[in-house]
């Protein structure tokens, strides 16, 4: 906004040719520079914004790290350094300087946290794949085909997200704890309780509306000509979807995948409902973190350490995977 007005000012300035004669203070000359060379201003704005976002998103995470490094008994007045931090201890030969890096080992010794991470990872991966395939079909239908009752059907998908998760609680709890005779050959007692399926099935349904809407908007933007061309070349209907539409919407598909994966990885409500919380019973990472809440005290520092261990690798993995997926899909895509 402001720069637009400055651009206008520049026009007047050059008209009267007064610019070089004015004596300017520091701020004025900076402003004059900014007017003459807007690209520099945009660069400065860009760096300011980047630094602002980095500080605001990372600071609480950094503080979580400081909480993790503080020993449980010292947990008071944690600032930019862990409380109990004392660099002079280094001279005395104490490499930890009053902090508690051992907490990152404690995370795995108190509770089989690696198993919880594995459970969450498997559940999130399978759910993401199911959601992407099923939502791709639905997104294609809603985004590109014409048929009666399209609006009402989309609304029906959306309505699922109107309800608090608790509204599904009691009926689903009964459903998943029922012993179904058909399932007996596969599952020991014929009930889905304490199996990964009991989480993958509800997660797939709960996170599908978002994926369907994302994919609908992205698939709708692909020009019809590209799909028609592929069909004339002899691709099947499904082939056109998965070989033309999906690759051309790579950023949208990857984002739907990332959002689903992370949401499932952290989901708490249904995982709490569908398992008893045991690591061997496919309980996810959040159950693992809550295990550090003892009967008499809450180990805030271990919980903080566990969440860092659980989150950081996944965040990096997700970003790398997203880049790979986007570049992989785009490389195979048709060009206009």
């Amino acid at each position: 906004m402001a720069t637009e007005q400055q651009d206008g000012a520049e026009v007047f300035g050059t008209d009267t040719d007064e610019e070089p004669e004015i004596k300017r203070g520091l701020i004025e000359s900076w402003a004059a520079n900014a007017i003459k060379n807007p690209d520099r201003t945009y660069k400065a704005m860009f760096y300011t914004a980047t630094i602002f976002f980095l500080v605001t998103t990372l600071f609480p995470f950094y503080w979580l790290f400081m909480v993790a490094l503080t020993e449980q008994r010292n947990l008071q007045n944690v600032g930019v350094v862990p409380s109990g931090f004392d660099p002079t201890l280094l001279a005395a030969g104490d490499l930890t300087m009053g902090t508690n890096p051992g907490v990152f080992i404690e995370v795995f010794t108190l509770v089989p946290f690696h198993r919880y991470m594995f459970n969450s990872f498997v559940i999130a991966t399978v759910t993401t794949i199911i959601v992407l395939i099923v939502a791709s079909l639905a997104g294609y239908v809603f985004g590109r085909l014409r048929f009666p009752f399209k609006g009402p059907l989309m609304l029906l998908v959306l309505i699922v997200s109107f309800f608090p998760p608790a509204a599904f609680f009691i009926p689903l709890n009964q459903l998943f704890n029922t012993n179904v005779d058909i399932l007996r050959p596969i599952l020991a007692d014929g009930s889905l309780y304490n199996t990964p399926y009991a989480m993958i099935i509800p997660f797939s349904a709960i996170f599908m509306p978002l994926a369907i809407f994302i994919l609908t908007t992205f698939y709708a933007q692909i020009p019809d000509g590209l799909e028609d061309a592929a069909r004339i070349e002899g691709t099947t209907r499904l082939g056109a979807l998965f070989r033309v539409i999906v690759p051309l919407s790579a950023p949208g598909v990857a984002t739907a995948g990332v959002l689903t994966f992370i949401a499932v990885y952290n989901e708490f409500f249904f995982s709490f409902l569908m398992t008893d919380g045991g690591a061997a019973n496919w309980a996810p990472i959040v159950e693992g973190i809550l295990r550090y809440q003892g009967q008499y005290e809450v180990l805030f520092n271990v919980m903080a350490a566990a969440s860092i261990v659980g989150v950081l690798p996944v965040a990096i993995l997700v970003v790398v995977a997203q880049e790979k997926i986007v570049s992989g899909l785009t490389a195979g895509a048709l060009k206009e």
Partner: protein
């Protein structure tokens, strides 16, 4: 699959036999509407099992009386009584959904309990404020991530991190940050005069804490979706605009924004619905009796001491109704933006 066969797609796989090619041939010959319904079957099957069936059961519960004594928590059919009781504050719930009275003086309404202790107002205020700030910040983050610069991957990791943190930990983090003996958040906010003496017990101060915590975590959600929209903008459009002398603001207004709009609307739509169902972050920081949201009341009814399942089910459906009213705005927008999109 069909590329090695000559002829039109309709004939593809026609005489090679086998179940698969038979299915494909059958699919090729379906009408557009029939094909559409066929592809929707898997999605709607999942939704029916996990969502529609439980919701119908909950709807049935909302018409049944609360039975706090007997073995079965649900009593006989009472019609809309639960809904009326919830709206008039005549329930066993810890907080009221809405408590206002009409008066004859200006401004003609009077709050029975403070604003931040009424679930409806807390929910609406939270949804409006959080979606507004998250859209603003998310858009900013997406514009930054859309630029090419060194280390972009790591900036992206940094922005995704809050979104990847489980709500339990997010709650713990902000609880500790504003807990007077552990963190410094309350000292700081008191120093600038925003917070009172005990922030985690004050409804207004706790509301701000919950709001900040939510904005911190979920701006990334907006950023990722808007970024996906930005990445589908054809870069050559910018070159054309530059050559014709468009300022960066004009480039944003006439190229970027219209193309991003559908993705932005989807992001805002789902954020609004999520924000109106807020629960986890409240429970893990200030607690549901300090900052009551609509979902808080549902949980309170289901798990809070007395079993009032019928009332809880009614609150759940009221929440859905309020969200539905709100969402109508987006649906109208969608229709305008896409022309027959929905």
């Amino acid at each position: 699959m069909a590329t090695d066969q000559s002829g039109t797609p309709v004939e593809a796989g026609g005489d090679s036999g086998g179940i698969f090619s038979g299915v494909f041939t059958w699919m090729e010959n379906l009408s557009e509407a029939a094909y559409a319904y066929l592809l929707l079957i898997p999605g709607f099957f999942l939704l029916a099992l996990v969502a529609f069936y439980p919701l119908l059961d909950t709807l049935r519960m909302s018409f049944l009386a609360d039975e706090t004594r007997g073995a079965d928590p649900l009593g006989g059919f009472v019609g809309l009584e639960n809904y009326i009781n919830v709206l008039t504050g005549n329930t066993r719930l810890g907080r009221q959904v809405i408590d206002v009275a009409l008066t004859s003086n200006f401004p003609f309404v009077e709050l029975g309990t403070p604003f931040f202790r009424q679930a409806l107002f807390v929910t609406l205020a939270f949804a409006l404020l959080s979606v507004f700030f998250e859209t603003l910040i998310g858009f900013g983050q997406a514009l930054v991530l859309d630029q090419e610069f060194r280390g972009r991957r790591w900036v992206r990791v940094a922005i995704i991190i809050p979104w990847a943190i489980p709500i339990v930990i997010q709650g713990m983090l902000f609880f500790l940050l504003f807990q007077p003996t552990v963190g410094f958040g309350s000292d700081f906010m008191q120093a600038i005069g925003v917070f009172g003496s005990d922030p985690l017990a004050s409804s207004r101060d706790s509301f701000i804490i919950v709001l900040v915590a939510d904005i911190w975590k979920t701006s990334a959600f907006m950023a990722l979706l808007i970024l996906a929209g930005l990445q589908s903008v054809d870069r050559s459009l910018y070159d054309v605009a530059k050559v014709s002398g468009a300022t960066p603001w004009q480039r944003f207004k006439y190229i970027t924004f219209p193309i991003v709009l559908p993705a932005l609307l989807v992001a805002m739509l789902f954020r609004t619905m999520d924000a109106m169902r807020v629960y986890g972050i409240i429970e893990s920081t200030a607690g549901c009796s300090t900052v009551p949201s609509m979902t808080c009341l549902v949980i309170d009814g289901l798990f809070g001491g007395t079993r009032i399942y019928g009332t809880a089910a009614a609150v759940a459906f009221l929440t859905a109704g309020i969200i539905g009213i709100f969402i109508t705005f987006y649906i109208i927008k969608f229709r305008d933006a896409e022309g027959g999109f929905m």
